[in-house]
Structures are given as structure tokens and as C-alpha cells.
Symmetry: C2
Subunit: 115 residues, 2 copies
């Protein structure tokens, strides 16, 4: 993967962000990343094929929800919490709180043997 | 249309609501309804075919975002603001504020000659 292009905050759209956050796997990924730590893709555990996980991560990135960074052969991802909050105040917290209350996205987690 | 089944608040899901609110026409419909008034479908103006508008209204209804009522041959729709707020606190306002700030959904409005 080349260093991917990420939308600047002013390029983020509400519709793309809402679409990115309308899937339980993607909500789960956002929940895992909501502690603010950057994670290697290999640390992310989800009940989907790696190609599907990669697809979900691309949708999150293209919407501006996450930032992906490549280092050698490894990819890392982090939540763009500040950018989201500046563009769509209150939205991410409302989604995270609702996901927490309803146990949405629990199928996503972190691998014990992190890389 | 028969009186449609609407999800009870506890049946609403975050994923369905996020999906319902990830389309500019549907966000526009919610904006139009956000004044709390029930509207006849004939009052709603959107740059789509009537069948497409009906499809969008069904998605909103099935997700629990709106309530549809039939009276004779006419259908009416209103926003379920209180139910949404109780289930997903802060979510609707965050979406409405973002839509307002970004002019999302402005292609939807009310017909002057209301019915």
C-alpha cells in the first residue's frame, strides 16, 4: 500500500461518515481505536477475511474517520477523533455511546499477541 | 399502504439508524420534519421519482426515524424525535447540526401548495 490520501477535514462529508459508521464491523473498529492509540492492522481481530477487513479500513479512511500509515510492510491505523469532532461536533461520541449501550461492534477486538 | 409496523424504541438499532441517515435525500427529509410537524407525503418535495421518495420514506420508517400514518388515501409522516433521543442520545441533533452547517439535504423541501 502506498501512503494513502486522506481527506482534509473540510473535505469530509457527513454522508460519507454516516455511511462509514453504518456497519457493525466498522463501528467495532472505531470502538477499538477510541482509546486514541494507533494500532497495527495485525493487532485488529474481526470475524471477517483479511481482504474484507482491509475493505472496511479503507472505507473508514476514505471517509476521514481514521488515518492509516504505512511503515515498511506494516500498516497502522488511528482514529481521527479531533478532526471528526471539529467537523461534526458530538457525532462520534453519540455513536460511541450508543454502540457501547447496545453492544454494537463487540465482534471486533485486539489480538493478544500484538504485532 | 396498510398501517405500517414501526419498530418499538428497544427494537431500533444504531446500524439501521446510521444507514437511514447516510443518504442526502433522507437527511433532507429529516431536516424538513425536524420542526416537529407531521407532513403529508404530497407536501414533500424532492428531486426523485415518487417511487424513490416512497422507498426513502420506508427506510426511515423501518429504522424508527419516522412514523408514517395513513388516513384514507393519504399518508402522513413525522419525525420520532423523542424516541430517537431516548435510544441514541445526542445523535439526531449532531446529524441535524452537521447537515445544517454543510447544507446537506437542501434539495428536499416542502411544496408551496400543500395537500
Amino acid at each position: 500500500m502506498k501512503q494513502a490520501r486522506h481527506p482534509e477535514p473540510h473535505e469530509m462529508t457527513l454522508i460519507a461518515v454516516m455511511g462509514a459508521l453504518s456497519d457493525p464491523i466498522r463501528v467495532g473498529l472505531v470502538r477499538v481505536l477510541s482509546d486514541g492509540r494507533e494500532r497495527g492492522w495485525g493487532q485488529l481481530r474481526a470475524p471477517v477475511a483479511k481482504s474484507t477487513l482491509s475493505h472496511h479500513l479503507r472505507i473508514l479512511r476514505d471517509a476521514g474517520v481514521t488515518r492509516t500509515r504505512q511503515e515498511g510492510t506494516r500498516c497502522y491505523v488511528e482514529l481521527r477523533r479531533a478532526d471528526l469532532e471539529s467537523r461534526f461536533p458530538g457525532l462520534l461520541d453519540a455513536v460511541l455511546n450508543a454502540a457501547h449501550a447496545d453492544d454494537v461492534g463487540l465482534q471486533v477486538g485486539l489480538n493478544d499477541t500484538a504485532s
